[in-house]
């Protein structure tokens, strides 16, 4: 029987338990509300972070064209052969079936099998890159019998002109740590950026903007579906001032020499039509990935194929500098163009004797004939009165010793020495003999082939301070019209220079007369230069050693700066053949061919267009 006291206790305790449990359930409800209301947004973010994987869409790189729209850098289709181990079931069997269809090296198969062990089985593994059309079609036909195999289409940067444009266009490479920026593309696997040339200088324009694709993934990272997609923006295309045919011609013209460079530019606008540096390299190799051997071969070449010598090669301008010395004398009022100097074959200054290149002497020469004959003695005489600082001032007006912030990187400044410069740089006093050496573009003076082309342009365009440029269009936007300031020199002085340069080529006393263009419609003018690399000492001279007998690296550089046509000049070229010998024998014939070809092609009359 139930006694009432016991029942009372029982009922009291039931209520107690019921109350306790109600409190406990309320606590659960409160906790749930806390999680779902107050912390809901925080967990919403975490849940999305779990499930959403952002995939970068890599934009197509902008293409590069020459002034007539001929492609210089394009994106070709690239077919990659991939396998998803999970779908292949028997990986080994599928791989061996594939290698019966197309050639696959054993190391590639080993690599796939190695990766298959490490990676999640639903991730694709690359078997081979750069498949040919033939390989692709063979695989496509048999794809149904090759489980897990698929072909992915991508892009590979291709340079149709291969070696001929490599120094201008540059090449692409994987991103270095030092090149890393905030751009998410930089971290995309296999992403490449411009390493040299236009590809580097205009990398941001060419690169475009990445797109994103949001993928829903499960806990193992497998894609479930695509949630949304933001398209990538293709990079801007570029149109260059370059005339690809003239460029190819120029590059080929240099190929018989061991190391040389040349530039053709428009003296009025500053547009560069051709810029070649030999030896060159094939930038397509970089796109495909260089083998260790190929890379070593390029690095070990003593003529530095990767260097763009037309920008970064610094040479004594030698006799091509004589126009500057002349102008400094004429403009400073130290000499008139008709004043003569008598050349005996050498020039005595104090105890020192300075030789003219013609040991028998030129006799009487004035400003014009001295240029034509390239008489050294004349400039020795001038320089002692003009002084190094006046010469340097004139050189700088004509663009020597400075960088142009040109469209390409790696540009070198050269060197125009002054008295102050020597004091600061070398902490030595300027010696008068050094002015004499400088007057013929030797000694401390250094200039790049580009600077010599700019100098020549300014000399023959009526004294306008043009600067070189390379890019006509970025995307649809045309580059700004350039208005070049007038240099403060008298036209009469410039006419003297022009007359002298005319005679260099077209007068039988001229040093480059052998390179004269017979067809008068195409005749050109210019100036030879032979830069001494090593002095032949007295003992060697006594033995009858000539410069041509020396080891290659000690031979003279051959230089030439030219312009055409003779009347109303437009085109300018500069040629440097490293250790090539004399300017008149080696550089002048190249310049002749370039000026002839350029006048025939008339690149300035090809209206550059946006492609």
């Amino acid at each position: 029987m139930l006694d009432s006291k016991k029942e009372k206790i029982f009922n009291r305790r039931i209520f107690l338990l019921g109350a306790l449990q109600t409190v406990a359930l309320t606590a659960l409800g409160a906790r749930l509300a806390w999680l779902q209301i107050f912390e809901g947004s925080k967990y919403q973010v975490l849940a999305d972070k779990n499930r959403i994987n952002t995939k970068l869409i890599i934009p197509s790189r902008g293409e590069i064209f020459d002034r007539s729209g001929v492609p210089l850098a394009i994106n070709n289709q690239n077919f990659r052969l991939l396998i998803i181990p999970e779908q292949a079931e028997n990986l080994k069997e599928v791989l061996s079936n594939v290698s019966e269809l197309i050639e696959i090296e054993n190391w590639r198969i080993n690599k796939v099998e190695e990766q298959a062990k490490k990676l999640a089985s639903f991730l694709p593994i690359e078997i081979k890159d750069n498949l040919s059309w033939e390989e692709v079609s063979k695989l496509e036909v048999n794809i149904s019998e090759l489980p897990g195999i698929f072909i992915e289409e991508g892009e590979i940067r291709t340079y149709p002109f291969e070696k001929a444009t490599s120094h201008i266009i540059g090449y692409l490479g994987a991103v270095n740590e030092s090149e890393m920026t905030d751009d998410p593309l930089m971290k995309a696997p296999g992403f490449r950026i411009g390493k040299t040339g236009i590809e580097k200088a205009y990398d941001l324009n060419l690169r475009g903007a990445s797109g994103t694709s949001h993928l829903e993934v499960n806990v193992r990272g497998r894609k479930v579906r695509e949630i949304d997609r933001l398209k990538a923006n293709q990079g801007q295309s570029l149109t260059l001032t370059i005339d690809s045919e003239l460029q190819r011609f120029t590059q080929n013209r240099l190929s018989e020499h061991k190391s040389a460079s040349a530039i053709i530019m428009d003296s009025k606008t500053g547009a560069v039509y051709a810029m070649a540096s030999h030896p060159s390299f094939d930038p397509n190799l970089f796109s495909k990935g260089l083998s260790q051997n190929e890379w070593q071969e390029i690095l070990n070449n003593p003529a530095f194929p990767l260097n763009n010598k037309s920008l970064s090669g610094q040479y004594p301008p030698a006799s091509t500098f004589k126009m500057i010395t002349t102008l400094a004398a004429l403009e400073g009022g130290f000499f008139t163009s008709n004043e003569t100097v008598y050349c005996t074959g050498s020039y005595q200054y104090g105890d020192d004797k300075f030789r003219c290149w013609k040991l028998s002497g030129h006799g009487y020469v004035n400003a014009i004939s001295a240029l034509a004959k390239s008489c050294d003695s004349y400039y020795y005489e001038l320089s002692t009165e003009v002084g190094i600082d006046n010469i340097a001032k004139m050189a700088k007006k004509f663009g020597l010793g400075e960088k142009y912030n040109f469209d390409l990187t790696d540009e070198k400044a050269g060197l125009i020495p002054t008295i102050d410069w020597k004091k600061q740089a070398l902490n030595e006093k300027w010696r008068p003999g050094e002015t004499i050496v400088a007057s013929i573009g030797q000694g401390y003076i250094l200039s790049t082939p580009l600077q010599l082309a700019v100098m020549t342009s300014r000399l023959i365009n009526g004294g306008y301070a043009v600067k070189p440029w390379l890019v006509e269009y970025v995307g649809q936007e045309k580059s700004q019209e350039k208005l070049w300031p007038k240099i403060n020199v008298k036209n009469s002085s410039l006419n003297v220079i022009k007359k002298g340069m005319d005679r260099v080529v077209n007068d039988k006393t001229g040093t480059a007369f052998a390179s004269k263009i017979e067809d008068e419609n195409y005749s050109f003018g210019g100036k030879t230069g032979t830069a001494q690399v090593k002095r032949i000492n007295r003992a060697e001279r006594a033995l009858g050693i000539m410069n041509d007998d020396l080891e290659w690296r000690f031979r003279h550089h051959a230089l030439f700066v030219g312009y055409a046509p003779l009347n109303n000049p437009r085109y300018v070229c500069s040629v440097v053949v490293e250790h090539g010998g004399s300017g008149s024998e080696v550089a002048a014939p190249i310049a002749r061919d370039l000026m002839l070809e350029c006048q025939k092609r008339k690149p300035d009359q090809i209206e550059a267009q946006h492609v």
Partner: protein, 376 residues
């Protein structure tokens, strides 16, 4: 001995059906349906592999529940000790030849079903204690010897379950047993003293705990300390719950469960799946169902005229409540992960059957609440 038990007011079958307690049947069915929906969603909108089996088990279990409920309470009263002994023997069998699952021995393979005797032992302990306390006087409840004998009924199976080792279930059995002690009028100071002893013994328990059990406690204290290891479950569960928000992500739209970030989504973490898809509304709805079931159980205990029925129904109600509470508190990160299923909802045959058997007994108490159980 059995002849001496006299029953008045023999009920007809129709009367039994009338007094069955259809409210509880409805609540159970609603709660089980929440389980079916969740299992269907856990399988990405498929009846297989979980929902279909669960539905079949539920119907089999419901038939069992009706049979148990309709059987006169006197029989359950008489069979209590036998059931207890049978349960105890099956625990020993598990200990000797049970299959190994999850690093702990818990199963008996009967060929068609893998039974977990410890699930049924909980009910058996409640039944045995209810019978033991049925005719105890107030003096008995203060008698140390009497109470010690009663506690043996709890300690024996708990020790065996601990050996398996299954800390969660042994705590549950103890708690269910304690609730009967409490209801039967054991002086409060004994509970206080017992609590104090447990606190003192805790460090010793800790020493004998398995590494994975220690991990669970440590992880509970700071789940972020090991986000890829044991803490992962709780973090992902909280993300799923929280991201569900007030109205939920919608049926079949739970990203955490669909994409497998949520572990054990069809068993221990099924509440998370439900609340991720149905939000706070769904979660609170389920809490209310649990609350009503609890109230129903307590009211049966309250109305029952015999002590056996009172203690039995209270023990079953408390046992059910504890199960639900521990599971839900666990997935919310309120208590350590103990590996307790959510009754009627989590996928699993034994759990479903054990819960329905328990409710069958509860309903039997309800039908036969006016019976007179006497013991000479």
């Amino acid at each position: 001995m059995f002849n001496s038990i006299k029953l008045n007011n023999e009920l007809t079958l129709f009367q039994k059906f009338q007094n069955l307690g259809w409210g509880l049947i409805l609540l159970i069915t609603v709660m089980a349906t929440v389980g079916f929906i969740s299992l269907y969603s856990a399988a990405n909108g498929n009846l297989d592999p979980w929902a279909s089996k669960q539905i079949i088990r539920f119907f089999i279990g419901m038939i069992g529940l009706l049979i148990i409920a309709l059987i006169d309470i006197k029989w359950w009263f008489r069979l209590s000790y036998f059931i207890y002994i049978a349960g105890f023997i099956s625990l020993i069998i598990v200990e000797i030849m049970g299959h190994t699952g999850m690093g702990a021995q818990r199963w008996i393979n009967l060929g068609f079903i893998q039974l977990q005797p410890s699930e049924f032992m909980k009910i058996a302990v409640i039944m045995a204690l209810a019978k033991f306390f049925h005719s105890a006087s107030m003096e008995d409840m203060k008698n140390a010897q009497f109470l010690f004998l009663a506690s043996i009924l709890v300690i024996l199976p708990v020790s065996l379950v601990l050996l398996q080792p299954d800390l969660g279930t042994s705590i549950m059995i103890s708690a269910a047993g304690l609730s009967v002690f409490f209801a039967a009028g054991t002086p409060l100071w004994i509970f206080l003293a017992g609590g104090a002893i447990v606190l003192i013994l805790m460090p010793i328990f800790w020493h004998f705990m398995h590494d994975y059990q220690k991990d669970r406690v440590l992880t509970f204290l700071n789940p972020e300390s090991d986000p890829l290891g044991t803490g992962y479950h709780i973090i992902q569960s909280k993300i799923a719950l929280g991201s569900g928000g007030v109205s939920g992500k919608g049926f079949l739209e739970g990203t955490q469960s669909k994409l497998n970030f949520l572990p054990e989504k069809q068993t221990d973490f099924i509440f998370t799946l439900w609340a991720e898809e149905w939000g706070l509304f769904g979660g609170v709805f389920l809490l209310f169902i649990i609350f009503f079931i609890l109230i129903f159980g307590l009211s049966v205990a309250f109305k029952c005229k015999h002590n056996f029925g009172k203690y039995l129904s209270l023990g079953i109600a408390v046992n059910f409540f504890l199960y639900a509470f521990i599971n839900i508190a666990m997935v919310m990160g309120l208590i350590p992960v103990v590996g307790a299923p959510l009754p009627l909802i989590s996928y699993g045959g034994t759990s479903m059957l054990a819960v329905l058997v328990g409710f069958g007994l509860l309903l039997s108490c309800n039908i036969h609440r006016n019976s007179k159980l006497t013991r000479l």
